[in-house]
Symmetry: C2
Subunit: 239 residues, 2 copies
DNA sequence: ATACATTCCTGATGCAAATCATGTTTTTTG
DNA sequence: CAAAAAACATGATTTGCATCAGGAATGTAT
């Protein structure tokens, strides 16, 4: 448990270069009671099973997604290749980039990593609220900005680091930002981890093994434990 | 000149995967006369020489940048490595990601590729206008969304294509989006082109040469001419 | 329990592209 | 204008990582 403290302080420091982060949204707090009701009247709550597609790239954006529970993979597709843009955890919004009215098509696919509960909110209501409520608009801008900055960090990491650096980063992010503990049950397969880090499944396995051999992490099936977060940090910044 | 037509139609089609694009901003059109005056009273126009740093990552964001003329490199720095996030051409805004008040530090450096004229607008005025004017806020959201989507395309391209695919993409983007003609004087050095495409300078030179040998482009010093845009297109989507 | 499919893992091979080394041309500067 | 510096170019070498091939372990369906 001492490690948790070290971990959180480290994750704090590497925030900007972090591949995966948890950007929560407080925009609805700025609504009036009346506006809150309006949102509630125009939303539905839907549950998705592990692996199910929530929205598909290329379809019309009729709704904005608000993740209530679960974990969602947001990715860009082209041909048979894909690129994970971000991982959305509870309190995240998905679909904001479709707010421009001349761009009302989903530019990415979102699917559930695990069983996930999502609020679907009518996008026109969001548009209306942006026009009406400055504080709400400002909060939406904040979310967009944060997502953009996080993406810059991920972008940088994927392009400038090599295998072990990328993977070290992802492990720290999963521990620090998503699961918020140094020992967690990883819901993702090695293949999904590979997709996330932009490397081959085999390389992920090999690299994970080398981390384990070097005493940086401990793996037992799906259970991951970060033993030496500072070591991972170093790897992350070197390679 | 026949080629220009082909070129523009092609650039139209590959818009989403385009590494470099020209996102212009019409947000100030939505201001009242009074608000426009407010902006004008709180802005200064500054000229930067080629190579000069306009804003430096890590410094306080007191102003938003509006490019009047020129070409600006926006990049993320970490240690001695850097990553170009986007190229900003006239009518672009830079610094919007610093709008959240809890995040008032520039997350990237901007420097002038060529002599550039920039309007510096007090960021607090922009914040005030977002709260006051819904249409303005909405236009800012539109810009942020477009930049985000463009970044996704660039992100994808840099990660999934190999050298020749990346470079083909960049050449098409420069021709189609920045210079808007199939024959242009490239202001960037091979080294800058390498930085932009995330490859080594030597590889850029070699790849450019192979494009020339294959009759796809013609290069004469700094003058680039796209001869076979459809060929470049194909390369772009294959590799 | 048996058959089948995934996921996980390991070693061998190949290749794209970075790096190194070195030379040439162009541009900048004193 | 000469000297220095930067940009451009090209060949040789190295290397990180994907790909291929095959096997063990785990999970799922029959």
């Amino acid at each position: 448990m001492q490690n948790s403290k070290v971990l959180s302080s480290i994750v704090e420091r590497i925030k900007t270069s972090c591949t995966v982060s948890n950007i929560s949204c407080s925009c609805f707090d700025h609504l009036t009671e009346e506006q809150k009701e309006l949102v509630e009247r125009n939303q539905v709550i839907v549950e998705y099973k592990k692996g199910e597609v929530i929205v598909k790239q290329g379809t019309f954006t009729s709704h904005i997604l608000y993740i209530c529970e679960g974990l969602v993979k947001v990715f860009y597709e082209e041909g048979d290749q894909s690129l994970i843009l971000r991982i959305a955890s509870p309190k995240s919004l998905i679909g904001l980039t479709s707010l421009p009215t001349n761009q009302n098509i989903f530019q990415y696919t979102a699917s559930a990593y695990v069983n996930t509960t999502v609020k679907l909110i009518d996008i026109n209501i969001i548009r209306k609220l942006i026009l009406e409520n400055g504080r709400f608009a400002s909060a939406i801008i904040d979310v967009l900005s944060e997502v953009a900055m996080q993406k810059n960090g991920r972008f940088f990491c994927l392009n400038h680091r090599q295998a072990f650096g990328k993977l070290a980063d992802i492990i720290l992010c999963l521990a620090g930002n998503i699961f918020k503990t140094d020992k967690f049950e990883l819901l993702l397969s090695r293949k999904e981890l590979a997709e996330l880090s932009g490397m081959s499944t085999e390389s992920v396995i090999r690299t994970l093994k080398s981390f384990q051999d070097d005493g940086l992490i401990r793996i037992n099936g799906k259970t991951f434990e970060v033993i030496d977060p500072e070591g991972l940090m170093k790897i992350c910044h070197l390679g």
